[in-house]
């Protein structure tokens, strides 16, 4: 069911950490982008089932990218992965429509739990 994952982060190290934390049994196609603008273009083209999005990025930050992605597809599942753990930031991204927020550095457990929730949500959306 989960076939395509987009990861948007300016840090290649953060992308590497995230990929390591993903469930090893996942058989998915990945696409990576290094800022919000590039991420948005990839999102339109690649049509991911799930997107992991950083917030603090050059060119276009994650807040704007999230808003734009949800304008393209208001059912998109976007998980924010950020070191910016201020309560106002968490509140803002959730009110913008993020599916979940995970704090950096992520752990295998938090990422695997997030993926499981996303898969469950996809099944729920398919049924309804």
């Amino acid at each position: 069911m989960l076939k395509k994952i987009l990861i948007v982060d300016d840090s290649p190290v953060a992308i590497r950490i995230l990929k390591v934390c993903l469930p090893p049994e996942l058989d998915v196609e990945f696409m990576e982008a290094k800022n919000g603008a590039e991420g948005l273009e990839c999102f339109k083209r690649f049509k991911p089932d799930l997107t992991f999005l950083d917030l603090t990025m050059p060119v276009m930050d994650g807040f704007e990218a999230l808003e734009e992605m949800l304008k393209v597809d208001n059912k998109a599942l976007v998980i924010i992965v950020s070191a910016d753990v201020q309560k106002q930031v968490v509140d803002r991204v959730m009110s913008l429509g993020a599916f979940l927020m995970v704090y950096k550095p992520p752990s295998r457990n938090t990422i695997q739990a997030a993926v499981n929730k996303a898969v469950a949500k996809m099944q729920e959306m398919r049924v309804s």
């Binding site: 300016d10 840090s11 290649p12 190290v13 953060a14 590497r16 950490i17 390591v20 934390c21 603090t56 990025m57 050059p58 950020s82 070191a83 910016d84 753990v85 201020q86 309560k87 106002q88 930031v89 950096k104 550095p105």
Partner: protein, 214 residues
């Protein structure tokens, strides 16, 4: 300014990238701690990591600060396996806004008391951010450091002589810069972390150990 030709040998692009991510995590946690206390939203830039020679460090620092002097510089050194110096730079005038944010602002104070409160606000906010950031940094890298008390310099051109004495002219300096903005309060500033060549070997090893867990 001397460009360090062998900078990549001392600290590879990959190591810079790991440090950038670890600093991003550390400063993110630090501003969340401050935001809990003063209920503000703080916007952060992507941290940048550069290597400069000790003799160029003062000029390099001044070049990276895109606000007009004079500024307030809150400075603190730390020591342990990682030795270094942190600076929090705020433009002149921010001390009044920061005092108000901490709830210490009072009308009709005599100038001496007003200055005392403003200096206190700068030092307090600098202390929270630098302590939390460096604390998180060494925590992520499984180490600890001790701090000197924060020191405030309000000058048109800070000399940064104390950190230079700590680093030494011949040393290589790792300089990490993050810009931050207190949203809705028109306060922006810079955070710098610098460390000397002696700490570099420990730093490199600690960054690789951090990555090994993934």
């Amino acid at each position: 300014m001397t460009i360090l030709k062998d900078a990549n040998v001392l600290f590879s692009e990959e190591e810079k990238s790991i440090l950038q991510e670890v600093m991003n995590i550390s400063f993110g946690n630090a501003v969340a701690e401050l935001a809990e206390i003063i209920d503000v939203l703080i916007r952060l830039s992507v941290p940048s990591v550069t290597l400069v020679s000790g003799k160029d460090f003062q000029r390099d620092l001044a070049n990276k600060i895109e606000i007009t002097p004079p500024y307030n510089s809150i400075e603190q050194s730390f020591s342990g396996k990682l030795n270094g110096y942190v600076f929090m730079i705020f433009p002149e005038g921010s001390e009044k806004k920061l005092t108000a944010l901490l709830g210490d602002y009072q009308e009709h104070l005599d100038p001496v008391e007003e200055t005392r409160l403003e200096k206190g606000a700068l030092i307090e906010i600098g202390n929270i951010l630098t302590g939390a950031c460096v604390g998180k940094l060494v925590d992520v890298l499984d180490e600890n450091v001790s701090f000197t008390p924060p020191r405030l310099e309000m000058a048109s051109s800070p000399s940064w002589q104390t950190p230079l004495n700590l680093i030494g002219q011949e040393s290589v300096v790792i300089s990490v810069k993050t810009e931050f903005k207190f949203m809705a309060h028109d306060i922006n500033g810079y955070f710098f972390l610098i460390t000397n060549e002696e700490s570099l070997h420990w730093f490199k090893k600690a960054l690789h150990t951090f990555m090994e867990q993934f």
